[in-house]
Amino acid sequence: MTANREIAVGQEVIGQSVPRLEDAALLRGKARFLDDLHAPGQLHAAFLRSPVAHAHLRSVDTSVSRAMPGVRAVLTLSDLRPSLTADRIPLQFRNNGLPEAITPFVLANTELLFVGEAIAIVVADSRAEAEDAVDAITLDLEDLPPVADVRDGLATTAPRACLDRANTYRDFELSYGDADSAFGDAPCTFQLSIKQHRGAAHPIEGRGILAVPDPLQDRLKVWSSTQLSHEARYFLSLMLGLDETQIDVAVPDVGGGFGAKYLVYPEEIAVAAAARQLGQPVKWVEDRREHFLSAIQERDQYWTIEVAADTDGRLLAIRGQMIHDAGAYIPQGINLAYNAATALPGPYVLPAYQLSVTVAATNKVPTIPVRGAGYPEGTFAMERALDGIAERLKLDRAEVRRRNLIPGDKMPYKTPMVSRSGAAIVYDSGDFPAIFAQALEAVDYPGFEARRTAAAAKGRRLGLGVGCGIKGTGRGPYESATVRVGRSGQVTVHTGAMPMGQGVKTVLAQVCAEQLGLAATDIKVICGDTTTVPVGLGGFASRQTVVAGSSVFRAASDVRQQILVAAAALLETDIDQITLNGGFVACPGTNCRFSLRDVAEIAAGSPGYALPPGVWPGLEATVNHIPEGLTYGMGAHAVEVEIDTDTGLVTLLRYVVVNDCGRAINPKLVIGQLHGAVVHGIGNALFEFMGFDAQAQPTTTTFADYLLPTAPEIPRIEAIIAEYPTPTNPLGVKGVGESGCLPVAAVIMSAIEQAAGLRYGQLCSIPLAPPDLIAALDAARG
């Protein structure tokens, strides 16, 4: 399918940084987030959560709590069972070759597996009264030894994180080419031991659900701060034993997701089940402590890799092992570990690759993708390898990358790898060396040495790091969109796409508006409402502009054609004489014009009269676009840092990111996504550490302990859009929600190494805190 830009006469909306449709309500404080919703008679839920990482749950005494003021119910798993078809949530992504019985329980069963696991739900008149009652529940526990470090859990003498199963969920291997033989005679080989810790998602709005039962019709209406409303409806229907048509899921304004809301959680099922049992609305809004304890996070990956290169610094092979901490349950699949493994080659030519991956358990909250979804981890490993090559062969770090980047004339580039579905991973478009060169120019790479020595003369230690990453975007298998011109002339888009701050409504409105000769503000976009769109997948994997955008484009194109056919009847002229602009169809050179409302009237029909020839009832089209594989957007980054050798403080001075988004529907929004993703990467590089002690007790459960980047830590970010349209969708677009995260930690480490006079590729443990830098400096001196 070739990129097909149909431009409405006199109106070009795509490519304009139109103001966001979402902003007015948000700026006025009139938006409605989950906790802003109020259902008459609503009750409030709080959860009793496990205080230990691993224990037999012998008994739960709720007698005191049930009698407390305002309490309507205190329910454990056995109390909820009459409303449930199963004890456990189904696995979100099927077909992973995973063992049975690995998904979370709706409420804890007989064995507690992580601190924070929900054991009982209290429903009361107010959240405060519910929390009071939670404190009055007593537990009889028998402690069991916890697995606190995923590596310890792999020893043959290790205790089991869960008594019913071995600690290894799954081993798999990625390999192509003959890595071992490449190592046989490679002139340059070395090993890297890499520890990567990424923390949690921490949208500023936490999770929440409001379940409103309708006992009269045996229906359930659910509002959820979620990234997947159709999946939520399906999971609720499965777990509650209802037909999907008995459940409606709608989404309020969502205050960020970042992956934490791309899951149907046990708490949501428990709340819905409790609401049905009580016959009253129940609302649960998590607080930040609950997010720290029980929302999904990313966590630890340990990579031990060997790198082989030739004398020119060209990669010959990379091989090794990776151990991935999946946590106490697997609710989703092995996608995070798989993505990380397949992301390692990146935008580079890697002739041979072998990685053995072990996905294993700990007694900690489950891990699933957070923004970046494993690609930052694979990227970090590759970028450290390239810096390691530069160090050992005394080559310039940018030159090493130039020599290894896939050349621009090799597109589309079929890598030797396959995706989870078995489809080949093909980089469809983009000129990687050109994008990299653009970043080097923007940061004035050649001029840095002069800047560095001038600063050094004043006692300042500066460093510059460069690197690249590439993200597959537009994950399918489809997304839904219905475009409709109502009888009033109002144009509405209904879609399974889900907003969480990125401006998806504005982007989809732009795509639709351009086809129909309107302004974006003329279009109403309704996301994720299961009552208006029957199927949908939601917001994840940098996919919505690509997939939902393509659905909207195709549906709007279809509606445009329908409008023209109906207009031809109204105007009594040929279709190619008709213009569609500003809400009117007109015949230039005549005074004749009709509004969209008039056209919709024609298509609505009238009893006793036939519809004009070629006109179908209504002006509506539904397209569930199926993308052909992922489309790849490459990014190149550069960072200048300054270090303080006394305190270990790292100051970021400036940041450059060039990223290929295929085609920018709304350039300002693209830049905004790059800013946000880069800062998330900065958090992973220097700040965000989710601590657990040897008993797998979380030790960082407030924002005072777990550091999110704030404004003073962030330098000016120069974000530059590159556009290499993809031929794989009608808009030519690529996703950009996560790309900005990918090489951030690596380029920062590389820059620190230069500033500190350390060996390139040495700093392989992130996040790097000031004491870690001091230790590295001391070790280098000693």
């Binding site: 008149d125 905004g672 970010i717």
Partner: protein, 162 residues
Amino acid sequence: MTHTAETLHTVTLTVNGAERSAQCTARWSLADFLRHELGLTGTHLGCEHGVCGACTVLVDGKSVRGCLMMAVQANGAEVRTIEGLARDDGPLSALQKAFADHHAVQCGFCTPGILMTLVEVLGDTPDIDEREMREALSGNICRCTGYQNIVDAAMAAAKACR
């Protein structure tokens, strides 16, 4: 709804120029009172331990964490929230408009606290520079924007107000 055993206090205060009065128990935070008793849901709760700043409101002209102040402490006070920055049927304030123009809002959940913080900052330090602006915003966490557009919007608003 609260149990009758807990004492109910009447809290009377001026919010966005209008006198409001409602009852709550002593343990209600100001943020919860504004949101659930007065129906002003524009003020948001992100952490309830005083770090993220989403709940920031102005109390007698000073920025305060709505999550750390008790509602009863605001009795008699003059409170300003995001809803008071523009009339419902009126245009956005210069600050709000700068946010829209600079794409300083993504999910919008942190925005109320940032706007109210900036009302105080711009009032106190109208000729603030970028470094000072970033420091002034250090008590407001945003996970979406990376701060740059927020800083640029704030600087533009500062310039417009000078």
